[in-house]
């Protein structure tokens, strides 16, 4: 039996909503914080998926996105390192189309089926931008999802799949643009999703001797809330079979969208249920998923979609969102311009910076971060074992709030944190509300983008109040 062994999701904390001045739209959508992107959200979803699991059992990783930070430089390798996966694994970015998530799932299933991997991690993540306040901006949200595909211990079997490849420009983005564009609405709808998705679903049903009534839920791509409902009718599904597309809570999360709806369906499903998953873009991917025993256990251990939807904060102004996306700059305190990092120094300290490894002394057991050669406690030399700090919780020992150093996240909260089990770190704190800060508050680690300078996207771990 081949299918999903574990799932995880990540939806950013912040929302645009009816309380957001200048947004002018009642439905909420999830927006990545200024220091998040598709890489950081993929890492967060991956951590949710792998919570309590042996990360050394993962044989490969596929990163599906249309918003990779680099066009030449793999994202999957960075995510795998941040997740502290093994070195002898395969990795690939599956990109350039909204269907990439469901396609990465197919590739992972094929690898496991072929026996070249026992388990593959699929992370699908997107942080797309559209022209402010247009229809696409209103419908799109940011988020990520992760699926561990395996043949043992599966909680949701993928029974059958079907694929169509269909070249067209309906919604697209050129490599030199930051916002997506679309052709005339009626063309996009009628010759795009309303032609291709029903064709693929019908062909899938015919090929597998299945019908719409065999499925408890259908999780599919669409363009907006209205078209989502209409598309169900076109595909001949009843209203109660449609998995809530979260258009009024999260928005269309691009490559992650159909898989995120599938995870949301798994959070409610019982053993024996069937879920149809449909990805769209330059064609269509259809997967049929049968829920198995063991889903309850995974559900309890994961934050998944539901807990992330609930743990939110609505932004006060749309300007703040524009600042986060670099579409608006405001005057700040005069400071020197940031220069690009040293790439060789970054590479040399991959364990400290990306893996967030500390070291634990074999002689005395003292845990210290960053990794040291000579033990700070007993002074033993080169007697250290690496220890992963990124999945530990910590408490705030002391903190301060910097009102002068920046313009994006004022005040910048700097916190000295003590990790549970030992180790300390001077950290930036993100996703924080000023009125919740206190000495002793529990925090967890979150992989974030520090800045982009000199063509380098620089990532590091920050502390954040425990999300859920």
């Amino acid at each position: 039996m081949i299918g999903v062994k574990s799932y995880g999701a990540y939806i950013p904390k912040y929302r645009l909503g009816k309380e957001t001045a200048g947004w002018g739209f009642p439905a909420e959508k999830a927006v990545a914080n200024f220091d998040e992107d598709s890489i950081t959200m993929a890492v967060a979803a991956g951590m949710d998926c792998l919570r309590g699991m042996d990360r050394s059992q993962v044989d490969g990783i596929l990163y599906a996105t249309t918003t990779a930070p680099y066009v030449e430089k793999q994202g999957a390798a960075l995510i795998a390192t941040a997740l502290d996966l093994r070195r002898d694994i395969t990795s690939a970015d599956v990109t350039d189309v909204l269907r990439a998530g469901t396609t990465a799932l197919k590739m992972a299933l094929d690898a496991v089926r072929a026996g070249t991997a026992n388990s593959m991690l699929v992370v699908a993540s997107d942080c797309r931008m559209a022209t402010p306040k247009g229809g696409l901006d209103r419908a799109m949200g940011d988020g990520a999802v992760a699926l561990l595909v395996a043949k043992d211990g599966v909680v949701a079997e993928v029974e059958a799949s079907y694929h169509i490849t269909d070249h067209m420009l309906d919604i697209w983005r050129s490599s030199d643009e930051s916002t997506v564009r679309n052709w005339e609405d009626r063309f996009v709808i009628e010759e795009g999703i309303f032609r291709v998705i029903p064709e693929a679903v019908s062909a899938f049903m015919a090929k597998n001797n299945l019908s719409q009534k065999d499925f408890q839920k259908v999780a599919y791509h669409s363009i907006d809330a209205r078209r989502h409902t209409e598309l169900a009718k076109t595909m001949k599904f009843e209203g109660d079979q449609v998995q809530d597309p979260l258009y009024s809570q999260v928005g269309n999360t691009g490559v992650a969208f159909p898989l995120m709806l599938m995870v949301a369906a798994l959070e409610e499903a019982k053993a024996g249920d069937k879920i149809l998953v449909v990805g769209y873009g330059d064609g269509c991917d259809v997967h049929s998923v049968k829920v198995g025993e063991g889903i309850d256990k995974i559900r309890q251990e994961r934050r998944g979609v539901k807990k992330h939807v609930e743990a939110k904060r609505v932004l006060k102004t749309y300007d703040e969102y524009l600042r986060w996306r670099g579409m608006m700059t405001v005057a700040g305190v005069r400071r020197p311009t940031a220069t690009g990092p040293s790439v060789s120094a970054l590479w040399r300290e991959t364990d400290r910076i990306i893996q967030l490894h500390g070291s634990k002394c074999r002689k005395c057991g003292y845990i210290q971060y960053p990794p040291q050669r000579v033990c700070v406690e007993c002074h033993a030399k080169d007697e250290m074992d690496s220890v992963r700090m990124s999945d530990k919780q910590a408490t705030v020992f002391t903190y301060s709030m910097d009102y002068l150093s920046g313009t994006t996240d004022v005040p910048l909260v700097i916190a000295v944190i003590n990790f549970d089990g030992g180790g300390r770190m001077l950290s930036m704190m993100t996703d924080r509300e000023i009125d919740e800060l206190s000495v002793g508050m529990p925090v967890e680690m979150s992989f974030r983008k520090i800045r982009a300078a000199g063509g380098v996207h620089n990532y590091y771990w920050k502390s954040t109040p425990v999300r859920a």
Binding site: R334, Y399, D402, Y403, L404, V416, R424, L426
Partner: protein, 395 residues
């Protein structure tokens, strides 16, 4: 067999420039200003200087700028850098060379030109390397100590702010009286509490000035000093302690006391034979880069009981009229903080007070100034260079 530095070297001349935003002069100009005041004070000529130590953190490299400014032709000059303890460490190395019998007369000069960067605050120590460390300029780093101090001793934000504010008010009063100080105006506690926030919980008046300035000292043996003047000042003890980021590597480092302070003070007190600092020290010029730093220094130097500095602040014990005046020249807060000059500026205040020649109005001259202490703290909570120096009047 070690002998220590006590009574083995003497200061026979000192100079200090006006501190402040010295847009019209360069670092070289300020070295001339400070050194020539010292020469005149000592009754010496530049040619009498046999070796020199130049302290500067960010303005110059090598010993050559001192040679260029002062035309010290082809003598040994060493550039010293040790964060905010730079000037005191330059002075210390100069003392050791004299005590070792290598030279008779040497010069220590410290200088910093901070106001040419085009930015307010400090821009030194800009990151190179991976570029992922939290941007945490000095106010943020010391705010971490303030937050933890308030937490540890049960002070509410308002209570803590009032204690710190009284230190700022005290130092502004002292600074207002010193003709060479950078910030020369009195402030009220009300103003401190209402000032803009810089790095919570530290506001504008919790932070010291960023200044240009230079200071210099001429050091010789006590035998030579006796021939030169009656009111030379003796070095009684020198301590330096250097941290290695223990405060970040160790999760039991408490942020309310700095081990470097304790270690440097212990070295200096032992050398000077001081066992009860609160009773024996007559004045202290300490590193009040932020008000919280001065508060912690009271406890770490043994002036106040642990966690009880608040009571001494409230009783006025460290004011000009108190039993142990601290920063009678206004401190870093108001005299200013040209980093590489600050340690020598502190020694200048101790030296002048001991000679009964405190610059400014008569009320600035302390009645008793037999034993004086200077203290520098460079770096940030978790990793400091600390220097403590103790001076005495000649017997």
């Amino acid at each position: 067999m070690t002998e220590g530095i006590k009574d083995r070297v003497a200061i026979v001349g000192m100079g200090c420039t006006k501190f402040g935003e010295r847009w019209d002069v360069s670092g070289l100009d300020m070295m001339v200003e400070a050194a020539y005041e010292a020469y005149e004070d000592a009754g010496l000529e530049p040619k009498d200087i046999q070796a020199a130590w130049l302290g500067t953190v960010a303005s110059f490299n090598t010993g050559q700028p001192a040679a260029e400014a002062l035309k010290l032709d082809y003598i040994p000059i060493t550039r010293v850098e040790n964060a905010c303890a730079t000037a005191t460490d330059a002075f210390r190395n100069a003392c050791y060379a004299v005590a070792a019998g290598i030279y008779d007369i040497v010069l220590a000069v410290g200088v910093e030109k901070l106001k040419d960067t085009g930015f307010a605050g400090l821009t030194t120590g800009a990151q190179s390397g991976p570029g992922v460390e939290p941007p945490s300029p000095p106010p943020v780093q010391f705010a971490l100590a303030a937050t933890r101090y308030f937490h540890t001793y049960g002070l509410s934000y308002e209570e803590g702010k009032r204690v710190l504010g009284q230190i700022a008010v005290k130092n502004h009063h002292a600074g207002s009286l010193h003709p060479k100080a950078h910030l020369r105006r009195e402030i009220t506690l009300e103003q401190v509490l209402k000032a803009p926030m810089i790095a919570w919980p530290l506001g504008l008046f919790d932070c010291c000035g960023v200044s240009d300035g230079a200071a210099a000292a001429i050091i010789t043996t006590p035998e030579n000093a006796r021939k030169m003047r009656d009111d030379y000042v003796l070095v009684k003890g020198l301590g330096v302690a250097v941290g290695g980021r223990q405060g970040m590597l160790r999760d039991d480092y408490d942020f309310v006391s700095f081990p470097e302070n304790l270690a440097a003070a212990r070295q200096a007190y032992e050398e000077a034979g001081i066992t009860n600092p609160r009773q024996e020290v007559d004045l202290a010029v300490v590193h009040d880069c932020f008000t919280i730093t001065e508060l912690i220094i009271y406890e770490d130097m043994g002036f106040s009981a642990r966690g009880r500095a608040k009571e001494d602040v409230e009783s006025g014990a460290f004011s000009l009229e108190g039993d142990l005046p601290v920063n009678p020249d206004g401190g870093l807060k108001c005299f200013g903080h040209p980093i590489g000059a600050s340690g020598l500026r502190m020694i200048y205040e101790v030296y002048k007070q001991m000679q009964g020649k405190a610059p400014g109005p008569p009320e600035r001259q302390l009645k008793k100034a037999d034993i004086g202490l200077t203290h520098n703290l460079g770096g940030r909570p978790g990793s400091f260079t600390c220097s403590v120096a103790i001076f005495g009047r000649r017997d």
